[in-house]
């Protein structure tokens, strides 16, 4: 086929397809589906924590939930930028990702400073540090698929970076659901292990990006 014929052929249908292809619908659907799938996985494999109702009355429960939520929003904003060709992510969006992490670490530092030296290590390690990050990364797998599906409806050109951002978003979604299971509530614990879990998901996304996001 000659280039001129190809152009003829493409120009017959100039307007982009309606509805399902639009960014907002695609990302909303992907995020809702990912959250639902990761939640099901969490309930099925790990179960809700038994004292969820009582603990949900404590402020720290919501502070902990806010951490992956804020990381998730920041990762979403970066993913949206990376889903379109020719746009820059911009310093404010990167700063938006750094801020919740910084705040979590400041909070962890304040909490750690208040306990005697020999109790600090136990506060960071909690009772579940060996499994926490792995479980979050595992819960992120269905979310990674869902978020990647949303990004594939767009046109990312930096596949590794877009994959990493999408993976981080999926990791944050998984960490949000993990909050409903996790018995640990101390900031020194979750500011380290939740973050590590989300970063593992981001790393998985970076590995998968060049292959799964090609178009």
């Amino acid at each position: 086929m000659k280039t001129d014929d190809l152009i003829d052929f493409l120009a017959r249908e100039p307007a982009p397809p309606p509805g399902r292809q639009t960014e907002r619908r695609r990302f909303s659907a992907g995020i809702l589906a990912g959250l639902a799938a990761s939640s099901l996985l969490m309930v099925g494999l790990l179960g809700l924590r038994p004292d969820l109702t009582q603990v949900s009355h404590t402020p720290m429960f919501w502070v902990r939930l806010a951490f992956p939520s804020a990381v998730g929003v920041a990762a979403l904003l970066i993913t949206l930028r990376l889903s379109r060709p020719g746009t820059r992510v911009g310093g404010s969006r990167w700063a938006g990702l750094g801020l919740p992490i910084l705040l979590a670490w400041v909070l962890a530092g304040v909490v750690i400073a208040q306990v005697p030296g020999d109790a600090r290590g136990a506060l960071v390690l909690g009772h579940t540090w060996k499994v926490c990050s792995t479980l979050i990364a595992m819960l992120s797998l269905p979310s990674i698929v869902a978020v990647f599906w949303a990004v594939r409806g767009m046109a990312p050109v930096h596949l590794r970076l877009a994959g990493a951002a999408a993976g981080l978003l999926a990791g944050a979604m998984a960490a949000i659901t993990y909050c409903l299971h996790c018995p640990e509530i101390a900031p020194p614990f979750w500011s380290v292990w939740y973050l590590l879990g989300m970063l593992i998901a981001g790393g998985l996304g970076a590995l998968a990006g060049p292959r799964w996001l090609r178009w």
């Binding site: 120009a11 397809p17 960014e23």
Partner: protein, 193 residues
């Protein structure tokens, strides 16, 4: 750089091209097929010149990459945001397709040429060479659900409404079918490279 008159002139020319192509592209997105065709024609001539400059040692591949890029521009047209520079958007797509070509052909030495942002619309080249791969033949290898909506609308020249009537699908199903089919076509092109 602005003290160089030739370069300044080229910059103004590129600005005018950007302005005109963007206008046509936006009209096209709103459904104006003639404007969209003008835009794709204009893009093709500029991209051809750009690619020929980029690939002096692989001129025989230029027409293939050009078709690949035009198909990518078309498949990604919903990701262009009105008001943003069309140059940056098209350039990012072109560079992506070029990198893809480099990767699949392992011509890594060509990557050492820096790819500048500012020279995309400076020159144009309307003289096509023959493409080496036939997009038409690749189209025939697609499964029916992808191929039929494309053939009805794009090759037989039916309108979307006529194609919908003819195939018993809704109009938006025909449009989505074409969109998916062209993405599948792009995937075929990738795996044939």
């Amino acid at each position: 750089m602005t003290s160089d008159p030739a370069r300044e002139h080229a910059g103004e020319g590129a600005f005018a091209v950007e302005h005109e192509l963007r206008r046509c592209f936006v009209l096209g997105l709103a459904g104006d097929a003639a404007a969209y065709r003008r835009c794709l024609d204009g893009l093709a001539t500029h991209l051809r010149a750009y690619l020929r400059r980029r690939l002096p040692r692989a001129l025989e591949d230029v027409e293939d990459i050009l078709q690949d890029t035009l198909l990518a521009v078309h498949n990604a047209r919903h990701t262009y945001r009105e008001g943003e520079p069309l140059t940056a958007w098209v350039h990012a797509i072109t560079r992506y397709k070029l990198m893809d070509f480099f990767r699949s052909h392992a011509r890594r030495e060509a990557l050492h040429d820096p790819i500048d942002d500012d020279d995309l619309f400076v020159a144009s080249d309307a003289e096509p060479a023959d493409a080496r791969r036939d997009v038409g033949q690749l189209l025939e290898t697609l499964p029916d659900r992808h191929r039929l909506p494309i053939e009805l609308v794009k090759l037989q020249g039916l309108s979307v409404a006529e194609a919908a009537e003819c195939s018993g699908l809704s109009e938006s199903a025909v449009k989505v079918g074409i969109h998916r089919g062209l993405k599948a076509l792009a995937a075929r092109i990738r795996s044939s490279a």
